[in-house]
């Protein structure tokens, strides 16, 4: 996805000389071509996220369209106030593109995890929030959103899904409609696990890559069903839950704890029940006779 991000931005920059790229000293090799073609619109400013967001806002104020890029926790957690004030409050829109969110860098531990990006950024007025699941999706989302006068957060994933699905930017996609009274909603690459787990079950499946604005119309189509949000971050469930009168539950990250286990993304997913087997078990249990409490996994973390 990172490669697609760089290709998409380079392609757009050839036609739109307002585009500038600012890196926080990551993905530099992916932008060699961009740097060569547009040397005065490429800046690797170093490891200074607060200055990067401020500078991007300043560039935006003069008509440029900045793309800023580094690892999720450093922009979102460290520089949240700069996003809030420099970009959003000032109405100097910028495009923020991150990698490593949730536990994509599972082996690095909590300092490099970021499960709260979607939850916190969606609270900022004027900020749109996207979690594309594949290179095709990030390409479409950037092309459709980068210059609409709002700040955009694009969360890239290290392990995209490889499903052949087409989702319209800003919309949710009903992948499976069995007219069932149970519906699963998910976002981003985890859709691959969800489909593998539930394809043969009598459940509806709805896929999102736009967290804000959430597609209320599609969610509302399923408000007469019991909804289970399965997701590997915070924020998506909360966005769906704001639609009134839903019978809704969440399966995903454990509340109020850090994921301190190292390893790979599949290993952490398995640990917290987000591998295909864990998802299937949870779905079967949740949509049994009554909504059951999920077993605590805190002790295993």
């Amino acid at each position: 996805m990172r490669k697609q991000f760089s290709l998409t931005v380079a392609d757009l920059a050839a036609k739109d000389d307002r585009i500038v790229v600012i890196l926080g000293d990551i993905s530099v090799f992916l932008f060699n071509d961009f740097k060569e073609k547009f040397p005065n619109r490429f800046f690797n400013l170093g490891i200074c996220e607060n200055a990067i967001i401020g500078a991007a806002a300043g560039l935006s104020s003069q008509g440029f369209i900045p793309f800023v890029h580094t690892i999720a926790p450093f922009f979102v957690d460290r520089s949240y106030e700069h996003l809030k004030l420099d970009a959003c409050y000032n109405q100097f829109p910028i495009n923020i593109v991150t990698c490593g969110a949730s536990f994509d860098y599972a082996w690095d531990g909590p300092s490099h995890h970021c499960y709260g990006d979607l939850a916190t950024l969606r609270l900022l007025p004027g900020m749109q929030v996207f979690q594309p699941g594949s290179p095709k999706e990030i390409d479409a989302l950037i092309r459709s959103q980068y210059n609409i006068g709002k700040s955009n957060y694009f969360r890239l994933a290290d392990k995209p899904h490889d499903l052949n699905i087409s989702i319209e930017s800003g919309k949710a996609l009903i992948l499976q409609d069995k007219n069932a009274d149970a519906t699963i909603m998910t976002a981003g690459p985890l859709i691959a696990n969800v489909l593998e787990a539930c394809r043969d079950l009598n459940v509806n499946i709805v896929y999102f890559n736009t967290i804000k604005p959430i597609d209320k119309a599609v969610v509302s189509q399923f408000k007469h069903t019991r909804i289970l949000v399965i997701h590997d971050a915070f924020g998506f469930y909360e966005a769906v839950s704001e639609i009134p009168n839903l019978n809704i539950a969440y399966h995903g990250l454990p509340a109020d704890t850090f994921l301190c286990s190292y390893g790979s993304v599949p290993q952490i997913r398995k640990l917290i029940g987000l591998d295909s087997e864990g998802i299937r078990n949870t779905v079967l249990r949740t949509f049994g006779d009554k909504l059951q409490e999920l077993p605590s996994i805190k002790n295993a973390l």
């Binding site: 806002a57 935006s60 700069h82 100097f92």
Partner: protein, 256 residues
């Protein structure tokens, strides 16, 4: 003190007394700086969005009342409008809002933000090969914030000789984290540094007009509450307090 700067201080006192808001001592420390900047840079009060104007960013956003009164003095709006300072539905908040006040280029308040935006604007002018310049005032207290120094790293690395930062050295942090030799700090970062009396308009103007080959820092030695003995002798109690009518009369007398 020049007559114009005295008049600006009086308008600050009046707006604060009428509105019941204001960080007056910190505003008084930057009156000459603001006056010198607006006397030097290219701008047009009758056309605040003039295309090739220079830009000023008040990074120490709580000096808002000082900026409003200087903008009024230069003709951006009538001074009476500032009497609604901090009031319900007023355009003139206790921190500046670029979408409400003509001449304000960035909304600031929380410290350590305006300087990053100013750096980005200077970078934008470089990309466009524009001769436009950017000026920013930062506070010595504000410079406790790490983001100020991040911005300096970037500004020096990018040789932003179109950015001039005036450091209001009003000793506001004597009781906490004082930066004892700011010139040495900025020199260490690679900035072009000069130091002047921050209440000498001509000295400030001379420094503002000088060219440098990288980001320029003017350490402006100032006094919180300059011009009023009451403020200077009681800085902490007056940090964020408007004068009542009797105090207002006394302060006007002290200004002379």
């Amino acid at each position: 003190m020049t007559p114009d700067c005295k008049e600006i201080r009086k308008s600050i006192l009046l707006a604060s007394q009428k509105s019941g808001h204001g960080h007056i001592p910190t505003c008084f420390s930057i009156v000459e700086i603001l006056y010198a900047v607006y006397s030097t840079m290219k701008h047009d009060p009758s056309n605040p969005k003039l295309e090739d104007r220079d830009m000023f960013i008040l990074s120490k956003g709580h000096g808002s009342l000082g900026l409003y009164c200087v903008l009024a003095k230069f003709g951006y709006f009538k001074p009476e409008r500032v009497h609604a300072f901090g009031g319900f539905q007023s355009d003139f908040g206790c921190h500046v809002d670029r979408l409400k006040v003509p001449g304000v280029e960035a909304s600031t308040g929380s410290l350590g933000h305006g300087i990053g935006i100013a750096t980005g604007i200077a970078l934008a002018f470089k990309i466009k090969n524009s001769k436009r310049r950017v000026f920013a005032i930062i506070g010595d207290g504000e410079s406790n914030e790490g983001s100020v120094w991040e911005a300096m790293l970037v500004a020096v690395d990018r040789k932003l000789d179109n950015l001039t930062v005036i450091y209001d050295n009003n000793q506001s942090q004597l009781r906490s984290l004082q930066i004892k030799n700011p010139a040495a700090h900025f020199e260490g970062f690679g900035c072009a540094v000069t130091q002047v009396n921050g209440h000498d308009v001509n000295a400030l103007k001379n420094e503002l007009l000088k060219k440098a080959d990288t980001v320029k820092i003017i350490i402006a030695d100032t006094v919180k509450g300059y011009g009023c003995k009451t403020f200077i002798e009681n800085q902490y109690s007056w940090h964020r307090r408007p004068p009542n009518e009797a105090e207002y009369e006394q302060l006007i007398k002290e200004l002379g």
